[in-house]
Symmetry: C3
Subunit: 441 residues, 3 copies
């Protein structure tokens, strides 16, 4: 089945509830950049889409980085001397700073405070903190909870392991007619937070599931990886794949109630940037210039690769108050937002797949559309969108301009221009251009 046919058969809006249910399934797991939580996450996703699971041993070099020891957590709490757990990871994964080293000691209240993280501006919320590369331990808690810690001493227990193991990531390649690849990634390393980034994980999983049923023009590569170290590790192991990547999307924070946002690649005018900008215009979203911070697009856009990879979000990272706190929960993420984000991603994917350049085979004057049944036979009235789209395609199809170029210039939907091109090609008026290939012009 072609990508277009597969998408036409979908009722994308109806998928929002299923996407939300997947987010809810994944929410309780204690994930980090390595460890069993990440593996458990991939196992749940594997029920939807067959993921290839990769394990990269601790200590493996990845450019300037080294895969860290694997971290697993059995238990973590702070207890008063009577043995009551006053901070307890069983209540929330966020209570323990990710990658906290194994710890079992009695500390004074003031010593404890040096290891606590809280948010004065949000007294009910627990912040999310990590210390992947500096050995340390810490607990995160609400301001209100901290106010109750009035004993002189506490017992701290972090029952974690930090040992040689591996970094895990999941990968799925959907082969297309060409070897050109579109990369779609999400980071899946955050513990119990829904928008950042289980929403992204769900979108990538659903998109992969849809595309896996099709034979698209380009190949699609889906990655579910730990943030930063995951993309760097993947890049270091796949340098041969990199030259084939013609477009990419990092997906994150796509479940909240905000409007769609696309952050451009460093290049700014790559095909994926123009495709996404077209979709944002049509769906009321906005486009932002590239910045070298955010998610894994940082790595894909580093100057040694400079890949045309943008980032699809709703409210961008750090701009919603619940960001990196316990308030980024299952209520923040809405089924209709998830479905709308998936629909936007499918729109972008369709443009990536269908954009092509044609040559008008009757370039001298307009061909006579009326005699081919393509033009209203009674003259004198104003033209309709379908006719305008055909006239635009005929006028602009000199072999060097693609359908997306034409749609943007005509300020018409890509779909209308693509439909017009199909009609004209069927009528023998348009031929595929050999001037522009499949690459990212």
């Amino acid at each position: 089945m072609s990508l277009r046919e597969a998408i036409a058969e979908l009722d994308v809006e109806s998928l929002g509830d299923d996407m939300h249910a997947l987010v809810a399934d994944l929410f309780p797991i204690c994930r980090s950049i390595t460890g069993d939580g990440f593996r458990q996450t991939l196992a749940i996703l594997d029920k939807r889409v067959p993921l290839e699971v990769h394990e990269v041993p601790s200590g493996t070099r990845a450019f300037d980085w080294t895969v860290p020891p694997e971290w697993n957590l059995r238990d973590a709490y702070v207890a008063d001397l009577a043995g009551n757990r006053v901070i307890d990871v069983r209540a929330s994964n966020l209570h323990v700073m990710s990658y906290s080293v194994p710890t079992r000691r009695r500390v004074t209240r003031s010593e404890l405070d040096e290891h606590l993280h809280w948010l004065p501006e949000h007294p009910e919320w627990i912040p999310y903190r990590t210390s992947y590369y500096r050995p340390d331990w810490g607990f995160c808690l609400s301001e209100r909870q901290r106010a109750g810690l009035s004993d002189p001493e506490y017992d701290v227990v972090v029952d974690s392991t930090l040992e040689d193991g591996s970094l895990t990531y999941g990968e799925l390649v959907v082969p297309g007619e060409t070897q050109d690849e579109v990369l779609v990634t999400a980071h899946a390393c955050h513990p119990s937070m829904a928008n950042d980034n289980l929403s992204g994980v769900a979108l990538v999983a659903f998109l992969a599931e849809i595309l896996a049923t099709t034979r698209p023009r380009r190949s699609y590569r889906f990655l579910l990886i730990p943030g930063t170290i995951g993309s760097i590790t993947w890049l270091s192991r796949n340098e041969a794949v990199v030259p084939r990547i013609v477009a990419g999307l990092v997906v994150a924070c796509v479940g909240d109630g905000g409007p769609l946002t696309y952050k451009s690649s460093q290049r700014g005018d790559a095909l994926v940037d123009r495709a996404a900008a077209h979709v944002m215009r049509r769906r009321g979203g906005s486009v932002r210039a590239f910045t070298p911070f955010g998610y894994d697009e940082r790595q894909f856009n580093s100057p040694g690769f400079d890949l045309p990879v943008g980032c699809l979000s709703r409210t961008p990272h750090g701009e919603f108050p619940e960001y990196h706190t316990s308030a980024d929960d299952l209520e923040l993420v809405r089924p209709e937002s998830l479905a709308g984000s998936l629909a936007a991603a499918l729109d972008i994917v369709r443009i990536l797949d269908e954009d092509a350049a044609y040559v008008n085979r009757h370039p001298k004057g307009e061909p006579q559309l009326g005699s081919r049944g393509l033009y209203p036979s009674t003259g004198g009235r104003q033209a309709e969108e379908g006719v305008l789209a055909m006239l635009w395609v005929l006028n602009q199809s000199n072999g060097g301009r693609s359908l997306l170029d034409i749609a943007d210039r005509a300020a018409l939907p890509f779909d209308a221009i693509q439909t017009a091109a199909t009609t004209l090609a069927e009528a023998g008026l348009l031929a595929v251009s050999s001037e522009r290939g499949d690459d990212d012009g």
Copy 2:
């Protein structure tokens, strides 16, 4: 006489009444894309400017098109069974759909309705309809008139001929110093409608009459043609001329009370586009991006030719409510609008004719203008427009920038810059550049 001198001698504003009188002379004629109405129109125009009349036989191939049979109309009406003409082409040319096939039959009221065209939103107006390429007959009438048709049967008579004959168009070439050509065209195929497009016909005729008295730098070619099939036919018979066309204007709807509008060529930055944009800024008009619908610019801008031909209008086609109806009459068109449009066209033509690049012959520092009487001898005051224009011309004249480039950068009128250049050239400070030729850079 130079073009500049000829224009300087004119009182363009006073020509509005004459232009309107010409529109009024041409208004009653029953025109179509072929036939005696078109010939009669050219005969009237020939009294002002000597037109070469071309006849292209029916059946002649023109790229993807074929010149249609010639259509002539003797009479057309719908009569009740008592013989009263209830729709009568003698009342308005628009009553019969153009190219209606010969018909003489009795029809039921409901059968008649399938051949009627009316405008519910404008109950008093008769619409204009055509069926050039699908054999059919039809009548156009006001909504009010249609409401009165309450008999069960009517007699329909279309006393037309649709036979081998020819397509007619008029042409005038005013030779210039170079073979480069400026193309100025109007469609002259519409029956009794004043703005679309007798206003355009009148402007082209007056412009041709003015230029015919001069020896311009470039050659000018004026065409009065039937819309679409006329430009396609002309192009197919003049492929050798096409490479010489460096600029062009399609003129239509230039008589209504709206502000001036220039629609750019497909290229968007051709000399004619920049010249017209300059004139629009000076005359309170606006510039629109190219679209591949409208008038014969569709054909000139088709990808096989891609000629730098724009369209000069006031209110563009389809945007005034009277468009393609009987309300596009002699009152809609105003003498002052016609004259103002002619003045704008002359401004554009002057830039096309006079734009040139110069070289500053004293490029190191400013030359001493004061010693040549070109600069106020008492210093300390602010400079005037004439002095500023000279300083701009001296600063920018490196051989690669034309006077229009300079006028646009300086935000000064082309006329001021051209006058400054003439003054400086006469003072020996400026020489014509050989870097830029006459072509459309």
Copy 3:
């Protein structure tokens, strides 16, 4: 000492009073484009910075110009027949038109009027007028003063000399590591007016004094010249220097209370233009497009040189009402404005001196900043400006983009980007690029 260190040691804001004192010292002198007033001005400046004084003989050719006779004034007045001086140059230098020829005669009141200059719109102010190249005499006075001239005859005395002598200008070159030069000039030919242009003279003198203590990367050339004829004369004698000039600033009207204004060079996108635009954005100033009138940038930007020389001002010439009148006095010029303008000039100079392109030595993915102590070890929070600046420098440093390019793209201060680059270079993550040299790319 490096330029950066020298600037870091300065308290620029505190220099405003000294700059104003210098303006006040220079104010009483009767200056013109030649003569002892100009020499006296340079002698006072020489106490701050060692100026090389050049004397160019009258009659020397300078491109299209000739160095005029030297003008000196001993006395000038208009007296009534009773011998009372009713206009007296001892009251204001502006009373005599600059370059007035020696004159001693009795004139009627109406004959006198032909030689008077006044400002009806400002009845208390004396205008500034010159007649350098047409032999004439004249007096400037307030409207009120003129109203009192009711006698039938007056005695006119201009006790001037206009004889072979020389044109004088001052020059200081601060040698840098490279022969590339930055040109900084002010016209110093105006008599008692403070903003135009003793403010410019003071800024150039202070800037020269600061830079003379340093060893900058580029060489700096400071010129204090008479307007127009001075820059033309300098250019004609220094054609071998011209190719080394990579940036330049003409400084004028930098003491009034208006916001900063930078007028671009003709090129518009030269390094100095981009540096100044960056500083204007940071300091609330504005950028204007080049125009070929104003000050000596007219000459430096003439097409035979087309040097990247802009103009730094506060309120531009002719836009403050006191321009070229006696109201341009010591009160119009404010210490804080002078100091702010000097600070802006130093900001521009720092960018000219420090802008460079680097290459990221770990271009594949981000290098691990945390392990080098350059990244916060606790993750989860938003990044700070210093970290963002490092990420921008790493992402953009492909050898072809300079720090200023990066600062502009990141919308961060040049200083933050430059500091980040220094930090990264010290950590071995960045190397100087050989792709871009010291020239004005």
